[in-house]
């Protein structure tokens, strides 16, 4: 365990705690806000170093999702979404590859590339995560409208939280 690994472990725990202590309580009964279920923990997967082996990323996503599920009592939903987004991260990164290419030793963060690039990348990852999560939650194609509404509502807030996280912590490699 070297100094590069430590920030990721802290981020893992910090995002987990933030999710279960703060964001879990954001639940509204009615109105537009009832579609808002923000999720910040995918940011841990988003910020893993690019060279992290895909199986490890997938396994870490599974672990994170499982822990969240344990607290939420929603076995399989967060884990499934996290595993999905962890596995597809490689493809998103391929798709998003900047002109200069990646320095695979470091995290795909705003400092290394650009704030604009990072926000686009995070938005795609969050979208994938949310749409998969709500698909698992509703679990039937007839609920396509609530799936999309929940995805949209939650995505906006989650995205704002990622931006907030970026501004406050400015995550390093």
């Amino acid at each position: 365990m070297n100094s590069n690994t430590l920030p990721h472990i802290f981020r893992f725990l910090g995002l987990f705690i933030a999710q279960i202590l703060v964001l879990q309580n954001i639940e509204f009964d009615r109105g537009v806000l009832s579609y808002v279920h923000p999720m910040i923990y995918p940011l841990f997967i988003i910020l893993l170093p690019i060279k992290t082996p895909v199986p490890l990323v997938t396994a870490l996503g599974f672990l994170m999702g499982l822990m969240i599920d344990y607290v939420y009592s929603s076995f399989g939903m967060h884990a499934g979404a996290a595993v999905f987004v962890a596995y597809t991260r490689t493809f998103v990164l391929n798709f998003m590859e900047p002109r200069g290419g990646y320095n695979v030793s470091y995290s795909p963060n705003a400092k290394r590339y650009s704030i604009r690039w990072f926000l686009q990348y995070s938005a795609i990852m969050l979208f994938l995560h949310h749409v998969f999560y709500f698909s698992l939650q509703f679990f039937a194609p007839v609920y396509i409208v609530p799936i999309l509404l929940n995805t949209l509502g939650s995505l906006i807030v989650s995205f704002l939280l990622v931006g907030f996280f970026q501004i406050v912590f400015d995550p390093q490699d």
Binding site: P55, G65, F75, G76, G80, V83, L136, F139
Partner: protein, 274 residues
């Protein structure tokens, strides 16, 4: 094994992804009520569909077997039916033939030929069933030939498609008679010879047996006049006759027994003896 390892190295992350997602889905449908319900309902639907499909496959398979056994039953019934029809027709012809002095025996053709110059037909009735040589043989549509040889259970018929076959025939409603002969070419065409040239014959006239042959009763339809020729210096027509019979397609034939033939024979012998 080596290939499997290579495959896992190459696609290991995908396999792991599928594996973990599988665990997630498993947990999802086992520990969450609404997902469980949806899963059970849809899988119930699927089960139902699969069940009804397999049921239908089983039905079709069973139906095929049933068809096979039904086909056997049908075959047996057909055989019986054919036999009964032949019995019925035999009886019907019996009554019809009462006034002609002929009785009929039904028989099935077991061997036939049409493409030689001398054709014979074999049937499955013989001396044990009362068949004797020189009896006439007819079918539903016309005349077939004359019994030639008889064994205990089989007989051979000298077909009318035989060069030496001669049947006395006449034109319907006209008394002129001649001999029906085959010239060895077309199995549908025979020739009626010795009709005198003062007789009026036209194409389409029906040719019947005259009754003079003693093998056949008078008035059995044989064929239709197809062509009439009068060769130069001849006193008689050569009439081309289109047979009503399809000699290539004989199944059941009827053998004519002339009840009065012995009486007639003895009478004719008296003439010869003089």
């Amino acid at each position: 094994m080596r290939n499997l390892i290579l495959y896992l190295l190459r696609y290991g992350s995908f396999v792991l992804f599928l594996f973990l997602e599988g665990i997630c889905i498993f947990m999802l449908v086992n520990y969450n009520e609404s997902q469980k319900e949806i899963f059970l309902n849809s899988s119930g639907n699927l089960n139902g569909r699969v069940n009804s499909f397999t049921h239908r496959v089983g039905e079709i398979y069973g139906a095929h077997r049933e068809l096979d056994s039904l086909a056997e039953v049908v075959r047996d019934l057909r055989t019986q039916n054919l036999y009964l029809v032949s019995v019925l027709e035999e009886n019907a012809l019996d009554t019809m033939a009462l006034d002609t002095g002929f009785t009929y025996h039904a028989a099935r053709v077991i061997q036939n030929s049409i493409n030689r110059s001398n054709n014979f037909i074999t049937i499955n009735r013989g001396a044990n069933q009362g068949i004797k040589p020189r009896m006439g043989v007819v079918s539903d549509n016309g005349i077939v030939g004359v019994i030639r040889d008889v064994s205990s259970n089989f007989s051979t018929i000298m077909s009318i498609l035989h060069r030496q076959s001669q049947v006395s025939c006449k034109i319907k409603n006209v008394a002129f008679f001649g001999n029906l002969k085959w010239q060895g070419l077309d199995p549908d065409i025979v020739f009626l010879e010795d009709i005198p040239k003062h007789a009026s014959v036209s194409v389409g006239d029906t040719i019947q047996t005259s009754g003079y042959s003693r093998h056949f009763p008078a008035g059995l339809d044989v064929g239709k006049v197809k062509d009439v020729t009068l060769s130069q210096g001849s006193n008689s027509y050569t009439i081309e006759v289109d047979l009503f019979n399809d000699m290539s397609n004989l199944e059941v034939v009827y053998i004519l027994e002339d009840e009065q033939i012995e009486e007639l024979d003895s009478l004719i012998t008296m003439i010869k003896d003089e």
